[in-house]
């Protein structure tokens, strides 16, 4: 939120943990304590961590399914309309060729399966990357968590973090800090905007 005036004096509190197991336990307890605007950060994927914070969605899966179906329809339609349909009233550039190739029927669908298969994979694969980035809000050039020095130096190497954001209704700077320290955090830092 670099461009808008922040509503809170800091972005939140960043607690650091020794290992993924402690982080997972801490994230679960923080969620159970009623905090909702929280996020955990780790240099390796930690299974069950997002779920422990109440995150559930199947957006990427859905998007990839839709992408694949769109690709399939696109590929088949392309093959069909360019190889089997001639529309006299359309300009030549949009009309297909209805040519007799080796006596095959115009709608020679087995030949069209291969381009259809390829476009299905193509659309689904690209959707997989693009939807993951979009739903994750990436690319994002600036984010307040990078203002924590420990985070910059260790988050992508060997340290595990839990961030409670200041706009969480339960957030209280002193009390939340105590709470995080009680979860076994090795240190807790303020996150500047």
């Amino acid at each position: 939120m670099a461009h808008t005036t922040p509503s809170t004096p800091t972005y939140g509190l960043m607690a650091e943990f020794r290992d993924p197991e402690t982080l997972l336990a801490a994230a679960r307890r923080t969620h159970e304590a009623g905090y909702r605007r929280i996020d955990a950060f780790s240099p390796i994927p930690v299974h069950g961590l997002a779920e422990a914070m109440g995150h559930r969605d199947r957006k990427v899966q859905t998007a990839v399914l839709v992408g694949g179906i769109v690709g399939m329809i696109a590929g088949y339609s392309l093959s069909y309309f360019t190889s089997a349909v001639e529309v006299p009233w359309l300009p030549a550039m949009f009309s297909g060729y209805a040519l007799n190739i080796g006596g095959r029927p115009l709608h020679s669908w087995p030949s069209f399966i291969i381009p259809t298969f390829e476009t299905t994979i193509l659309f689904a694969g690209i959707t997989s990357l693009v939807s993951m980035l979009i739903f994750n809000g990436l690319p994002r050039p600036y984010h307040p968590v990078f203002n924590v020095a420990r985070f910059r130096e260790h988050a992508s190497t060997d340290a595990f973090f839990l961030c409670v954001e200041a706009d969480d209704p339960r957030f209280d700077r002193a009390e939340t800090r105590r709470f995080l320290e009680g979860l076994g955090a090795t240190e807790v830092n303020d996150v500047e905007h």
């Binding site: 997972l24 390796i44 990427v60 190889s83 030549a92 997989s128 690319p139 240190e187």
Partner: protein
Amino acid sequence: MSTEITRERLPAAPDDVPVIAPGQSLRTVTEKVSDIVLRKKSPLFWFAGLGVGFLLLQLFLLGVTRLLFVGTGIWGLNVPVAWGFAIINFVWWVGIGHAGTLISAILFLFRQPWRMSINRAAEAMTLFAVACALLYPLFHTGRPWLAAYWLLPYPNTMGMWPQFRSPLIWDVFAVSTYATISAVFWFTGLIPDLATMRDRAKGAFAKTVYGVLSMGWRGSAVHWRRYETSYMLLAGLSTPLVLSVHTVVSFDFAVSLVPGWHATIFPPYFVAGAIFSGFAMVLTLLIPIRAVYGLKGLITERHLDAMAKVMLATGWIVFYGYMMEGFLAWYSGNKYDWFVIWNRLTGPYWWALTLLILCNGIIPQTLWSRKVRTSPVLLFIVSIVVNVGMWLERYVIVVTSLHRDYLPSSWGMYAGTFWDWSIYLGTIGLFLTLFWIFIRVLPMISIFEMRELVHRTGHEDAPVPTR
């Protein structure tokens, strides 16, 4: 708690060689891999490797310049062999390009922990090999600047469309999709590592470039979850794709009616051959690289052993394919089919078939020996032999099926000219150049997966530094 984090127990290693040398921590593996890129000075052997590639690349530029000025007449192509080096090299390169996605996707779905330290380099190799492959059909059109409307379907004022009933158009779709999805898969795998590089880079320029490429990745748990979903889906999509690519390439031959090409065994045996040659090329590249970069702790003998076993298995599928080709030509009672096989065995290209059997059938049998599989030097030699053998396989398939057709008066011989060879060696130069540049600017081993591996195998005896 730890049972929830550990995705699955590692399968018991078939032998005592680990997939990662003991004594590594999250920090040491990160440093080990990223420092190869982030060090200021390039080592001397890097210049030597790049130099060899770059010199060969000049042959490519020379050959292509001449080709564009004069035309495809400078190649050895002529009736009856109107399909020579261009298709041989295309198939060879596409085949080599199979190992990367196989290692990344199929071994990922099978949860093979040994894939983790070789998948990045193998995927890069795939991309570069496919790029080299695509150059051949493009230049074989003679006028690559017109190839857009010959190959790609888009509405144009000439009202031209490609022919969707033609295997050549299937091939365009298959290989271009494969190239695109391999690039997407590779980039997806790179995102967390680019973030690591961004955080570890010292120079402002490197920080900016890695920062932009990493898309602002910050390792959020929610992001990781979607990331892993996306990666898994890409692996699932790539698996049928990788098996389909060489199937479609084989259709270029099998769908025709030429004796020697028109065979239903082609798709599976082409795919096996592709994996065979791909793994050979991965070994050819990684054996020297792990030695010069001191990565023997990350790319261990276990990896060499596993890749050698894949080669042995796929080599036998390929060899079975050769035998079945011969058997079916005889058993079908079709005299034209039998003539092609007989001509391969005893005709003027008998030497190519003999060398092929030696390279792909006999010499790889040394891989039954564990000693050969774990000896870098011997394995390197075998991998080179297999690369040569797989090139000869395509040479035999293409040339011997064409050079003597139904009318003895139209029989002929084929040989590559200087320009054929210069472009072939030139693409090897392009491949090596791209690979050495890749090693210098991107982490050649997936850092976050190595960290995951360290965490899972519990080799982390150095504690996480927390002041």
